[in-house]
């Protein structure tokens, strides 16, 4: 019994160690947040580019680029993408959060692109036809009619993607960043008692994701107002 309290003390209280977890969590959230925003922007652009067609039905060059981007990102491990970004492409950068956010944002964008494509394809074809029949261009109808509905359709999957993204940032320890996972690991190697730090980190991840889920569900309910019968 005593040893549980003792373990807790050594994992969180001694030397104010709990502040380390929260610093780590700060890094985790920072990277995940910027990556999510980047992912949504890149994903939307990549999706539209990937779906673009000329009048003759052929893909323009930028469409092939988007296709290749999605293909390559989804076909390679995230941790290797991160290491390539860190040790090769941006090896001179000293801003760890920037490099990691870029890497995860590029990664997430490919998945977001496919999620949004699914959302667009779930929108009734008649919506585009109605917009076009009124004289609106394809782009205008996309922006004001189809995309808002597509995002709503994609909402549950997007939440899923953000949750995955937040947890995936745990691999930034590979390139030496001190996120929540790495902090927990470091403390457990210091105390030789892995139970408390690891369970503590797990609880923190869980709570953050729970809060995120609740916020998203609230937002979704708001978006669904137009479906009320």
């Amino acid at each position: 019994m005593n040893s549980i309290v003792e373990q807790f003390n050594r994992a969180f209280i001694v030397n104010n160690r709990w502040t380390l977890y929260f610093k780590g969590l700060g890094t985790t959230i920072e990277v995940a947040f910027f990556a999510a925003i980047l992912g949504i922007v890149i994903g939307t652009v990549a999706c539209l580019a990937n779906m673009a067609k000329r009048r003759n039905g052929k893909r323009p060059i930028f469409s092939w680029i988007a296709y290749a981007y999605i293909d390559v990102i989804r076909g390679t491990p995230t941790v290797i993408q991160l290491m390539i970004m860190w040790f090769v492409i941006m090896k001179n950068s000293t801003n760890g959060v920037l490099v990691a956010s870029l890497s995860f944002g590029l990664n997430s964008g490919a998945y977001v692109a496919e999620i949004i494509r699914g959302g667009i394809q779930a929108v009734d074809q008649g919506q585009m036809e109605a917009g076009r029949s009124l004289g609106l261009s394809r782009t205008q109808t996309m922006m004001y009619v189809v995309l808002p509905q597509a995002f709503k359709n994609a909402f549950p999957s997007l939440l899923n993607e953000f949750i995955t993204l937040l947890k995936e940032t745990a691999i930034v320890g590979y390139v030496g960043m001190s996120d929540l996972t790495r902090v927990a690991n470091q403390i457990s190697t210091k105390t030789y008692q892995p139970f408390m730090p690891l369970v503590g980190a797990a609880v923190i991840y869980f709570v953050v994701i729970k809060v995120l889920t609740i916020l998203f569900n609230k937002l979704e309910r708001k978006l669904r107002e137009s479906d009320n019968r």
Binding site: G126, E129, A130, S133, G135, L136, Y144, S226
Partner: protein, 254 residues
Amino acid sequence: MNTQNKAADQDRVMIRVKNLTKYFDDNHVLRGINYEIRKGQKIVLVGPSGCGKSTFLRCLDMLEVPTSGEVWLDDVQVNSPKTDINKVRQKMGMVFQHFNLFANLTIMQNITLAPVKLKLMSQEEASEKALKLLRRVNLEDKADAYPHSLSGGQQQRIAIVRSLEMNPEVMLFDEPTSALDPEMVGEVLQVMTELADEGMTMVCVTHEMAFARQVASKVIFIDEGVIKEEAEPEEFFTHPKDPRLRDFLSKVLK
């Protein structure tokens, strides 16, 4: 405009279709259609399902791209690659079988989106006009509702209003009552009849033979991708000449 000019304007050919064909892959849907529609005419298209009547209608505003042939609206060739199709479509209203109101927008936003985004009207002008039109179809209290909360008949009347907001020169109707519950067909046909009485040029694909009889200037029978018969409604329904049309009418007029 003096009366003579006005009469001439009334008689003006508005839509000209020349040798129109359409393939869907190997399926030869339209096999050479020639037709002229004059200003103020109400043309009703009938025919068995799959005969190409909807495809013909959709070719008029390029929702389907013709495989060959020409479609003209006044002096503009609609299906020329040089034509700005969005400009042409502003003059042609289209009403769909499944209404296709924008699900993410309120009724008011549905009606005003196009004229405002296309900078044809200010938001105030557009809203004012929309309210007037909504009053005409007795739906002004639905301005802030979303499409899903309305019945099919209400949605279709609003879809008509949405097209009228653009001040179209011609209205195309693609089976506007086919997706409605029977008790709602009447309210939509009434709006269409009023529109016809006001002199709107209309092209309408429908199975409502009573409506065709009452409203049409000409009824066209399309079968196997060509126009098999064209006549004024009285002649069309009482003395059909084409054997396929006789067969068709015997099935639908019971």
